[in-house]
Symmetry: C2
Subunit: 198 residues, 2 copies
Amino acid sequence: MAASAGPEIERLIGLLAKLPGLGPRSARRAALALLKRRDQLLEPLSAALLEAKAKVRACGVCGALDSRDPCQVCSDPERDRTLICVVEEVGALWALERGGAYKGLYHVLGGLLSALDGVGPETLRVRELLARTGEVKEVILALPATVDGQTTAHYLAERLSASGVALTMLARGLPVGGELDWLDDGTIAQALRARRPA
Amino acid sequence: MAASAGPEIERLIGLLAKLPGLGPRSARRAALALLKRRDQLLEPLSAALLEAKAKVRACGVCGALDSRDPCQVCSDPERDRTLICVVEEVGALWALERGGAYKGLYHVLGGLLSALDGVGPETLRVRELLARTGEVKEVILALPATVDGQTTAHYLAERLSASGVALTMLARGLPVGGELDWLDDGTIAQALRARRPA
C-alpha cells in the first residue's frame, strides 16, 4: 500500500491492481505515473474510460465490441459472408484481425463450456450462432487447445451437424519460430500426427 | 492494435499502454477487462482518477503526494522532527513507509542531478531542503546507488556542510535473502568493504 498517502490514492491503486497484468507494486507505479502526468495521462484516461463505457457495445450480430452496431466487420461489404469464425472472446477476434489473414465474419461465444465452472450452453451465444448459419458454408472453430476449448468444439460440432455447413478447426502444430527443443511434448506429437508432404 | 474496434477502444488502449508496466498487449487485455466489468471496474476507475486529480496535491513541506497539506507524515506529532530522509521520488517514500522502520520526516527532491538529461540543482527541491534544516539534527540521503544518485548525494553533502547537521546515507550490502551466487560483483565488493564484526 501507499501507506499514509490518503484514501484517494489508496482507492486508485486498489482499482489499478485489479487490471490484468498489474499487481500491487505495478499499480503503485502506475498511480504515481498518472499523478505526475495529470493533464497528459490521468485526465485523458478518465475521459477515455467514460467515452468507451458510453459508446462501446457488443455487436448485435457477432458479439464483438465496437462503437458501431453492427460492428465494422459485420457491416463490411468486402467480408466473405459464407464464412464464420467462432472465437471464445473478443481478444481472440482482435488477435485474428491483427493477423490480417482472415476475411470472413466472426461469432463471439462469450466463454467456453466448463463443467468445473458450471458454464452450460445456455450462457454462451450458441443459439445466436445456430441462427446465423443460413447463407454460411463453413464454420471455423478457432477455440483454444484446452480441455474446455475442445469440449466446446465437440458440442458445437454436434449442434451444427444438422445445418449442413462444413466445420473446420485451426491447425495444430509448430508455431512460427518454434524450436523443437523448447516445445512441449503435446505440440510435437500433434505436429507429427498432422505431418504433410514437404 | 484492436484492429477495427473503433476509435474509442483504440484511444483507451493507447492511453493504458502509456502506464509503466503495461505494453500494447497487456493494455489490450486491460481494456477488455474494463469493458467487461463496466460498473465494477471501468466506472469506479474513471471516478477514482478524477477524484485523485482533484484532491491529491504535493505536500507544501516535504513534497509527498497526499490529499492533505501538510501531508499525513508532516502533520503527525509522533514523528521525529529532528530527522529528514531525502528521497528521489514519492515511490521511494512509499517504500520506506511500507518498511515501517523510519519514524522521521521526509523530503522529496523530485529527481536527481543528471548531466546527461540536463537536470540541474535549480529544477530539484534543493532550496526547500536547505530551508528546513533549522531544528534538524540529521539528514539521511536515501538516494539510489546509481551514478546520478551518488552525484546528487555529493552535491547535497556540499550544500548541507555549512548547516552543521549530521549527514548519513543508507547502508550498502547484501539484501535480505541475498545469495552471493546471484549478486552482482559491485554489491559483493561494497558488502566486503563495509564489513563489520559478527
